[in-house]
Amino acid sequence: MSSYLVRRLWQMVPILFGVSLGAFAFLQAVPGDPARLLAGPDATLQDVQLVRARLGLDRPLILRYVYFLRNALVGDFGRSFRSGEAVAAIVARHFGPTLLLSVASVVFATVTGLGVGLLQAVRRNTAPDYVSTVVSVAGISTPPFFLGLLLIYLLAVGLRWFPTGGMGTARSLVLPALTLGAGVAATIARFARSSLLEVLGEEFVRTARAKGLEERSVLLKHALRNALIPVVTMIGLQFGFLLSGAIVVETVFSWPGLGWLMVQSISFRDYPVLVAEILLFSLQFLVINLVVDLLYAGLDPRVAYG
């Protein structure tokens, strides 16, 4: 197990190296001169030169990449073009809200998705099954920004149950988490349904029933646990996509997270912040994939890593 973990972590190195190279190349490819941008519209040529030297933009390309990599490894992504603040501090400040939102969405999506999937599998081909299938297909197809605006109109503007945006009390978390989690819940429900139906046909389920176990414990202890294996992968993959879904949802609800920050840094051409975010998003995605693989072994004793 531990040697597997070491190998997997080791495999991440070339991928992260590739991502960092991509991110650096991106920094070089963006149009516009960041030094001129930072110096302001009234700056003289000399001012621009000064800013350029201060940012280290006058050094050769390879040297800049080496600096970039060395600094990135210790968490130093330079300073924001926009505010002059350290990028690491900015990103750290916006990380919490996104984490909170993602976790809340995943919890909501998992509970709802598994519940609906279980209901569908048990009541297969009945009205509740059909209705929830239609609802979940609609949930997958509705763009999060549209769903978000609908929820704002109905529950925030109309009924005034929740604020329309921003991050304040626990109440302000509800609508963004619902919006972000809806599609994931639908996907989980679909997976849980088909996975459960498959497991319910297995012999060990028949055995469990034959020895007189309550249906409830057959479902929850024997069927659900085995059906969870593909579902966990799904949740893990969805978690990664949640991080990117957050870009849209955070913009809709003015939620001060990483996604909102990303849109801001693009419109202000704040490239150091953008690059740090790209690296962070990729790292998160890789880590989540690893955690999902490790969870397999926990859920299914048949899976062994050596």
Binding site: I15, S141, F145, V157, G240, G245, S267, I278, S282
Partner: protein
Amino acid sequence: MARTAVVSIGVRPRVVSLGRRSLARFVRRRTAMAGGIVSSVFVVMMLLGLWIAPYSPAATDYNRTLELPSLAHLAGTDDFGRDIFSRIVVATRYSLGMGLGAVFLGAALGMAWGIASGFYGRAFDNVSMRIVDIMLAFPGILLAIVVVAILGPGLVNVVLAIGVFTIPSFARLARAPALAAKAQEYAQAARALGASNSRIMGRHLLPNVLPSCLVYVTLRVGTAILTASSLSFLGLGVQPPTPEWGAMLAQSRVFLNVAPHLVIGPGVAISLAVLGFNLLGDGMRDALDPRLRD
């Protein structure tokens, strides 16, 4: 009527061609048919939108702003008094056009990549598949946003951006059948007869790769439409006053309190288009290539 005819094809013990059987399975899935109909309607709107739309999408009427849906204006009017229904119809050519364009671009490049990777093998295969892994490690919309950040917003750049993140999945999908076909006698024979590499890849490997990739194209169109409209919603895609569903939604946000119908029209259009193509794709996958099922 049509349905009973289809069922009887399945029941009658007679040899039916593979195409016929696929069609029967396809029709049996009514949801797939519904998806096919919905996406056909959108394709027609994309091609003939300017002629279908009752008003010009740019015609303003300041005496009739933010009007509720009526017979004269089926989806109401926006803050400039423009007919929302006409704008939604005309927007299809941008929203759907971007989605289709991006997927075709990504599919063409991805297939070429996958075939080349399978054909040349060795180090080239190894390196190119690792690059695919890295690209797949990024969530799609993130990659698209990065590309748009480099190239700047706009219709063509959105197509390129979504095309880029569509490439790796097609490359991975195309590689395996290309690899298998390379080892077949006909490919070996072609090589023995002195066919060039590009001829072997184009004439002998490509036909093996096409079926799964074509099905996958349909499956990806929904995602591409969604991403394109998301980018426009974020202000990174098609810019106003061009009618585009995502951009229309973004502009309508401020009127949510007073005129929610501004949001509903374009939102429903995106949802329906995505739903239609997803259902069509699912049905095509089940009928033509069940192996793609995950």
